[in-house]
């Protein structure tokens, strides 16, 4: 437990300047770790939950298959704002003399979370916790694609990602004593962690044409192993297994619009993402529904003469779930 690293009670008993710093640090670590032993009455927020919330934030931002989003969570005691965005590309490539194809992808992903919680301290006093997390991640994927029929294929692949997580935690309401003897109620602590994630994924993809219109249905399962390292927060020296399920559908059709001789297609889509292993306390949600519309331009180029880049699209959608509202608006490429 964190108390073995930060002797809170001794520091309070001997309020020297050094010990005052320790108190601040200890309180800040409490803010990061929300150690139940340090703050009786906060047993719902254990070290493990704090670890999970950090890892879940990274997973809900950087997992393969996720697109950009801006989310707002409001469930009374918790208000949070989260966004994620990615710049990347994934494509299949032919392996001659074999039925299966290769699959690769590269992406840079970024995201941020501002999580505000209202809690109750050991003596019944209200505590406000304000956590800001920022993550930047680089992800590479490689795998195979097995066409079972013209309409259905299975695609297992492996992704490796490296993430840098920066966290600023502010706790308001913990009473501490400053060297001057004044009571302090606010503490701020900055920590960082690096996370190495290995994700095994299986995609099941179905598509069928109805005249000039196309229906696409897919299911994506991701099993994620995360190894986290932190020099300044022992709570985040950890590892975890998580899994995510995505169900996606899209219906598209032709338009009469062209740009540079290339046609545009309209699309509507509906997706569901379920972070299967995620605790609702961690980020305030475990699943999301997304509905939207968009336009895709069939640019059909072959960068470096290596791989096909068929579509450049504009998409806008709304995201919803219990206590969650959000939206997505941006560019897509495939």
């Amino acid at each position: 437990m964190l108390t073995s690293y930060w002797p809170v009670s001794d520091s309070v008993r001997f309020p020297t300047f050094k010990n005052y710093l320790l108190v601040l640090a200890a309180n800040a670590v409490v803010a990061v770790a929300l150690n139940a032993d340090s703050l009786p009455g906060l047993s719902a927020l254990s070290d493990s939950l704090v670890r999970e919330s950090a890892i879940d934030f990274v997973n809900t931002t950087t997992s393969p298959g996720l697109e950009g989003a801006t989310l707002t969570v409001d469930d009374g005691n918790r208000q949070s704002e989260q966004w994620r965005s990615s710049l990347g590309f994934a494509a299949e490539f032919t392996i001659k003399n074999h039925i299966y194809n290769g699959y690769w992808g590269l992406a840079v992903v970024g995201g941020s979370l501002n999580d505000k919680l209202e809690l109750t301290g050991e003596s019944g006093q209200p505590l406000k916790l304000d956590i800001t997390r920022d993550v930047m991640s680089l992800r590479g994927s490689f795998g195979l694609s097995y066409p079972m029929t013209q309409h259905f294929k299975l695609r297992p692949y492996l992704s490796l990602s490296v993430s840098d997580l920066q966290t600023e935690s502010l706790v308001d309401g913990l009473l501490t004593t400053a060297p001057s003897g004044n009571a302090e109620t606010t503490a701020v602590f900055n920590t960082s962690a690096q996370m190495l994630s290995t994700t095994g994924s299986v995609d099941a993809l179905y598509s069928r044409w109805y005249g000039n219109n196309r229906l696409e249905l897919s299911a994506h399962y991701h099993l994620i192993y995360t190894d986290a390292f932190s020099e300044d927060n022992p709570v985040l020296e950890t590892e975890a297994w998580n899994d995510v399920l995505q169900l996606k559908s899209r219906y598209s059709g032709p338009t009469s619009l062209t740009s540079m001789g290339r046609p545009w297609r309209w699309q509507v889509y509906a997706n569901h993402i379920n972070f299967l292993s995620q605790d609702n306390l961690s980020l305030g949600y475990t699943g999301l529904f997304e509905f939207g519309v968009g336009m895709e331009w069939q640019m059909n180029i072959k960068p470096l003469d290596w791989f096909g880049w068929q579509m450049l699209g504009l998409k806008a959608g709304v995201i919803t779930s219990s206590n969650v509202e959000g939206y997505f608006m941006g560019l897509t490429a495939r």
């Binding site: 001659k96 029929t149 013209q150 960068p303 068929q310």
Partner: protein
């Protein structure tokens, strides 16, 4: 030192990556490349090929799109222009394969133009499967 190595690697990739148009066999010839094997050219069966020099004018090729349950024998018929590159690939269109005219745009990318569907695709079961033949 690391920066130099990185610059060297990036420069090498860029040089290697330059898009180059393939050469032609001679006057009056076009070139086709396919991500899937060409098994019949102008009525004659050929060893599975992924590149082929073709004479300009009317051409008919049969190219196989393989899946684990079926093979799709797609027959393309079109009038090839001399000194032109064609490319057949899977673009998940209504037919399994699509024929494009391939044009070098610049050293960084090529364009796939004038998509053309096959005249027909005959679906045949792979060995061990019992599905009936049919066209798509």
């Amino acid at each position: 030192m690391k920066l130099r190595i990185l610059m060297f690697i990036c420069s090498s990739i860029l040089l290697y990556a330059c898009v180059q148009s393939p050469g032609f066999k001679g006057d009056g010839y076009a070139f086709i490349r396919s991500n899937y094997p060409i098994v019949k050219a102008n009525g004659e069966e050929v060893e599975p090929l992924y590149k082929l020099d073709i004479e300009s004018g009317k051409n008919t090729l049969v190219i196989v799109y393989n899946t684990y349950r079926h093979d799709y024998y797609c027959r393309f018929g079109w009038t090839a222009e001399a000194d032109t590159v064609y490319e057949v690939t899977d673009q998940e269109n209504s037919y399994p394969l699509t024929l494009h005219r391939w044009v070098r745009t610049n050293s960084l990318w090529a364009s796939r133009l004038d998509p053309m569907e096959p005249l027909e695709c005959i679906k045949k079961p792979r060995r061990g499967n019992t599905a009936d033949d049919s066209s798509t």
